[in-house]
């Protein structure tokens, strides 16, 4: 036994020597240095690559890296209990801007604001009720985006049945997308049958990362005659898009132009109900760097429909015209979606 114990210890020593000969330590940029501009991003429970929400915001941060020379880093939250801890990691390291992605991080961000008064916080999808000087909520008119999507779906549907597959409606932006979709559909075609299904039967950690459920729900809808489906809710929504692709049914994406992020669905993707996260994030970061970051409150980003891409020819001219008309009316304020900002109790 002593022989083998000796052998293992020698092995460990060798390994240690090998490791010690490697590169010495990691180069660590010092973010507390005033000349170094560091931007950190904390995701909600979910991955950085969810092909919509977290990813688009990260794209905005990466744009800052490219165009503003910022040092950027992200932390993925795996447990909602870690929100505060994850924000603190950046705060303590002297980061200049911290982007917290998602409604779920709202409370933790507001708690962190006063703790790190020199840090600029960008709270994506976090509506600021009161003004905290270094926290800005980046919000979007998802209901308008959804309204347009619903109107388009209703106009394009041949069966008179359309559907939506979304994450949990406890998250206000998701609620607004879903109800905006319903309102828009009923606005252009009062006798349309709209089935809006939210994934409230699982926890917060799973509701946006359940493509299997998204696909199965979409397929089930298609069996019942639905011929346009709006998939909204991270990977869950993406699953719905893929189900549509399999059955050759029209689909509408969300958050970003999903024609590029879910290429499997290109053949059926009518459009996407977008909220322009990337430019919104980048603009705010740029403002922070240049010293004209808003002093708290909300910053309204842009929303709209993505181009029709492959289905350009399928959309009749009068339908497109109607959509443009509704879009203009919404932006001008002459048309209201009538969607409540959050789900009523």
């Amino acid at each position: 036994m002593r022989r083998y114990l000796l052998a293992s210890i020698s092995l460990l020593v060798v390994v240690t020597l090998l490791a010690a000969c490697g590169p010495a330590g990691e180069k660590e940029a010092d973010c507390s240095d005033a000349d170094v501009f560091c931007v950190g991003l904390v995701t909600d429970v979910g991955k950085i690559d969810d092909k919509s929400f977290n990813q688009s915001t990260w794209e905005g941060v990466k744009q800052a890296e490219k165009e503003l020379g910022a040092i950027v880093q992200y932390v993925e939250t795996t447990d909602s209990k870690d929100y505060g801890k994850n924000i603190a990691q950046f705060g303590d390291a002297g980061f200049d801007v911290i982007v917290t992605v998602g409604f779920g991080l709202g409370e933790a961000t507001l708690e962190a604001g006063p703790k790190y008064p020199d840090v600029k916080f960008i709270g994506v999808d976090q509506f600021q009720g009161d003004v905290v000087p270094n926290v800005v909520g980046l919000i979007f008119p998802e209901d308008q985006s959804g309204f347009l999507a619903g109107a388009l779906a209703a106009l394009m549907s041949e069966s008179g049945q359309i559907g939506a597959v979304l994450g949990t409606d406890a998250v206000p932006p998701v609620w607004r997308f879903g109800e905006g979709y319903r309102a828009g559909a009923e606005y252009v075609r009062p006798d349309i049958e709209v089935s809006v299904v939210y994934h409230n039967d699982v926890g917060f950690d799973k509701t946006f990362t359940d493509p299997e459920w998204g696909k199965t729900t979409a397929l089930s809808m298609i069996d019942k005659g639905v011929d346009v489906i709006f998939g909204a809710g991270g990977k869950t929504g993406n699953g719905a898009l893929m189900g549509c692709a399999e059955k050759g049914v029209m689909a509408i994406g969300v958050d970003t132009d999903q024609y590029y992020t879910v290429p499997e669905a290109q053949a059926v993707l009518l459009t996407s109900a977008m909220k322009l996260l990337t430019p919104g994030t980048f603009d705010l970061i740029k403002m922070a760097k240049e010293g004209n970051f808003p002093a708290g409150g909300n910053y309204l980003g842009e929303a709209g429909l993505a181009p029709y891409h492959d289905l350009e020819d399928k959309v009749p001219a009068d339908v497109d015209a109607k959509i443009q008309e509704i879009d203009a009316a919404l932006k001008a304020g002459s048309l209201e979606t009538g969607v409540s900002p959050v789900k009523p109790e």
């Binding site: 390994v15 330590g25 447990d79 779920g104 009720g129 998250v171 926890g203």
Partner: protein, 376 residues
């Protein structure tokens, strides 16, 4: 697997030698797994030494780190004791996670809802034990159910406790997203309101999360040891576990003992949930499934189902989990490598023949065999 009697080497007593042997295999299992882990880290382009240094720093490197390690360790100790106790009784309790969750929910409810329901404010000396007691009761019931099913219908507790875990998950999700949800305006997460001041056990040091639950866990470990070794109940549990037929002949009511064992096991797990609520978080929140059930099994096995072993194994597990986030932050090695190392540890402990072969150790004690098929 032969148990060869060995003449004690001159100068060592049999007791010391067997004590050393008892910890030797687990220690070597951990060591071997860490070496393999180092190889995995290297293959992923990382430096094992820097990674492990980060791990140790994250686990023990500061008062904060140590405190966090004990915070992780407390539920592990309770759950590990729960599983170890069940093992002693010849039962496989995979339901620690569900029992823990319901214990937490019960404690939380007593903590925030009971005073309003009764219309009184409860002083801490009543409120705290009530909350903790509720947690223990909930866990006990949740454990007793599969125990009863096993004793009287033969339904195997492995499947039943796993099913109870999922049922508990659904139940707590329903409660924490519905009737028990925190009505605070910005809250979207499934969690209860904070429990009343009177139900909270204050922290020991300001600023550190180290809490009384940890002390309680150590005390309970001692109690479990005492019950198992020094009481009639403990004797019945161990006998029924080792050989149910012999136990029956010895006059032990085996079905009743099975139910008792699972009930106590669930009680311990429920206690884990209750202490989390009353001494640490002051509420219960639906968290990502941490896999306590399987961790507890690994801990119980690593600790050889002995309460002291369980405590040590729990601290090791907690150190690994806690240190891993620091390791990731400093070296970008994903925290999941810890899970791989832990799985390897469990593998080596379970198939200790592998360790004994590598290091040329002779087997001295009985192999732990619990599976007797699905019964029925």
């Amino acid at each position: 697997m032969s148990t060869s009697a060995e003449k004690p080497a001159p100068g060592t007593t049999p007791k010391i030698k067997s004590a050393v042997n008892a910890v030797l295999v687990p220690l070597l299992a951990v060591f071997t797994a860490m070496v393999l882990g180092a190889l995995i880290i290297m293959s992923a382009g990382g430096e094992p030494v820097a990674a492990y240094r980060g791990l140790i720093e994250g686990a023990f490197g500061s008062a904060q780190a140590l405190s966090e390690t004990t915070v992780w360790g407390t539920p592990y100790i309770f759950a590990g004791l729960a599983v170890a106790l069940a093992f002693k009784g010849g039962l496989f309790n995979i339901g620690a996670e569900g029992q823990l969750a319901l214990g937490a929910v019960a404690a939380a409810w007593v903590g925030y809802a009971l005073p309003d329901a009764l219309g009184v404010t409860l002083p801490p000396v009543i409120h705290v034990p009530l909350a903790v007691g509720a947690g223990m009761l909930a866990g006990a019931i949740w454990g007793a159910i599969p125990g009863w099913l096993k004793a009287h219908t033969g339904g195997h507790e492995v499947i039943n406790t796993i099913m109870m875990n999922y049922i508990a998950l659904n139940l707590t999700s329903f409660l924490l997203n519905g009737p028990m949800k925190d009505p605070a305006p910005l809250n979207v997460v499934a969690r209860t309101p904070r429990i009343a001041e009177g139900a909270r056990i204050p922290p020991i040091f300001a600023g550190l999360r180290f809490h009384w639950g940890f002390i309680l866990a150590l005390v309970v470990a001692g109690i479990v040891w005492w019950v198992l070794q020094k009481t009639t109940l403990g004797f019945e549990i161990r006998t029924a576990g080792a050989n149910p037929d012999a136990a029956r002949y010895a006059g032990v009511n085996v079905p009743r003992t099975i139910v008792m064992t699972m009930m106590l096991s669930g009680l311990l797990a429920g206690l884990a949930g209750a202490t989390e609520v009353t001494a640490l978080n002051y509420r219960h929140e639906l968290g990502f499934s941490v896999g306590y059930g399987f961790d507890a099994i690994a801990i119980a096995l690593l600790g050889k189902t002995h309460p002291l072993g369980v405590v040590l194994a729990s601290l090791l597990w907690a150190a690994m989990r806690n240190g891993a986030t620091r390791m990731q932050f400093l070296t970008q090695i994903p925290v999941d490598v810890i899970s791989v190392i832990q799985a390897l540890i469990l593998l080596f402990v379970a198939a200790d023949a592998i360790i004994r072969w590598i290091y040329r150790i002779r087997a001295e004690e009985e192999r732990l065999v619990l599976t007797r098929g699905w019964g029925g």
